[in-house]
Symmetry: C2
Subunit: 306 residues, 2 copies
């Protein structure tokens, strides 16, 4: 069991109605790795600048994340995102994006990263996703993307999707990608491209899983205090792929459903505090407790025979 993820390793400036942070550890590969670290050995791949220091590496390494494939580019600046949320925490408003060293990123996986059993291509330019995919023969692979690439690199994105086992995107992006408004039909259209599983992330409404065998959906875990939704989707993917990679056995329907549960749980912890604050001090026991609570919240039985 080993999991490679490629994606942004970043600093974020975030303001929500519940507070703000000027410069905190963030990025898709970071949120993904911290979430996945509870289930398996995870190895993020991506560049950082001189500004990424011991303090940031320590957050990852304390969780057992393998950081050898984090490439420090001398003289460069790390990816930086500034955004804010109004009272509708489902909508992120981007105020600034500085690619920094990510603008020149030419992914070269180490032998260990190439040998991973599972690969996740977080949201980066789809040609880069394909470059990484070509270097890693992982038995199970997943991909996330965003509206920008659907608009500007559609053909490349469709090719990238065709090369993975599982697409994980927001439901609005699935609709945009396929030009089809019905979610069940969008999922079928995506599966026709190659993936055998499609996860539609639905923000506070949770997530839905489509496979050839069926349909499964989970609500978001209900929380009275959501402080910063940044990284929720990446934490979901980290919990989902982390559990699948750490799982011993077939990736059958039951296993995928449990992975949806762990994804939901990790996303819920992520949004309780800013950035990586909550997940970096999370315990496996807290995860299991919430997983069981989620299970209880979604079960119902037929009426027992009288």
């Amino acid at each position: 069991m080993s999991l490679t993820v490629v994606g942004s390793i970043a600093f974020d400036a975030v303001k929500t109605p519940f507070g703000e942070r000027e410069r905190m550890l963030g990025g898709a590969a970071v949120h993904f790795s911290l979430a996945a670290s509870f289930f398996t050995k995870v190895r993020p791949v991506g560049p950082v600048g001189d500004d990424f220091g011991d303090e940031q590496f320590e957050v990852l390494e304390r969780r057992g994340v393998l950081t050898e494939d984090v490439e420090r580019v001398a003289g460069g600046q790390s990816f930086f995102w500034r955004g804010h949320y109004d009272y509708d925490l489902n909508v992120a408003h981007t105020d600034d994006t500085q690619l920094g060293v990510f603008g020149e990123f030419d992914p070269k996986l180490s032998a260990a990263a190439q040998a991973a059993d599972t690969l996740f291509l977080a949201n980066i330019q789809p040609d880069l996703q394909r470059q990484v995919r070509a270097q890693c023969a992982a038995g199970f692979s997943g991909l996330d993307s965003m509206n920008l690439w659907i608009e500007t690199a559609r053909d490349s994105l469709l090719a990238a999707i065709g090369e993975v086992d599982c697409l994980v995107v927001n439901d609005a992006e699935m609709r945009m990608l396929t030009g089809e408004s019905n979610l069940a039909r969008t999922a079928r259209a995506v599966m026709a491209l190659g993936p055998r599983a499609v996860v539609a992330k639905q923000g506070e409404y949770g997530a839905a899983l489509f496979t050839a065998d069926g349909f499964f959906a989970l609500p978001g875990f209900p929380l009275e205090d959501v402080r910063d939704p940044t990284g929720a989707g990446d934490s979901f993917a980290g919990g989902f792929f982390g559990y699948l990679d750490g799982h011993d056995g077939e990736l059958d329907e039951g296993t995928l459903r449990r992975a949806m549960g762990y994804g939901t749980v990790l996303a819920s912890f992520n949004v309780e505090e800013f950035g990586t604050e909550r997940v970096s001090r999370l315990t496996r026991e807290e995860i299991e407790d919430r997983f069981e609570a989620l299970r209880r919240m979604t079960q119902f039985d037929v009426l027992p025979a009288a």
Copy 2:
């Protein structure tokens, strides 16, 4: 077991990307009654005009709906709604509303309607809802509303909510009503007004149930063909309250969850065709099959011990 519902009995003109109808049977009390008719004896209360004829009454009566409290106003026109949906079927666009006889509606319940065990106040002016509530001592009561009344009759609506056991509204309306964006907090704020259960309808995402004891959520039943969402929320409420009224025993958490399942199933059949077309020829067996399919789509287990 007997269920009274007050609400619109109407003609609808609806256009969706999948077809249109110029004048079809509709209205909240109609959709509610047809859905509830699979579980209990249901009695809609409301006025219609001369234009409401035998053909319309027959649709109700074939399903066993008790129509004695449908008041035919001589010389009047029935409530009429014209609307359309674009490719996002979650958003109804109203093109015309003609209150007709509903503009003078002064609800007077028959003795049988007053004696109902369960009462549902569909979306009408909240003072009218209170008038009906005052005439009916039902042991379990519910209420739906809409943005119009939140904006124009807020105090009256809050009083009406305080007089029922269960609020059933769209989640956006719950937020608007409480001025609170977090759904779990909005539910708590509503329960502080009186209701012991709150159902947030979430369109294609399904519905969530909040009670003092907990939280439960179901996704919408996944359909590849949704032709007309008009009446989905009323069909949900009809399945939900119909099941609760027909149920023999306590309204405990398990019963409420099964009612959520039946509400979801009835709403899903409703949207497969225009207006009442699908539900009016539905069978209890089809309902049970889809209920069981929904249950299978939402269950997951912890990993069996190795």
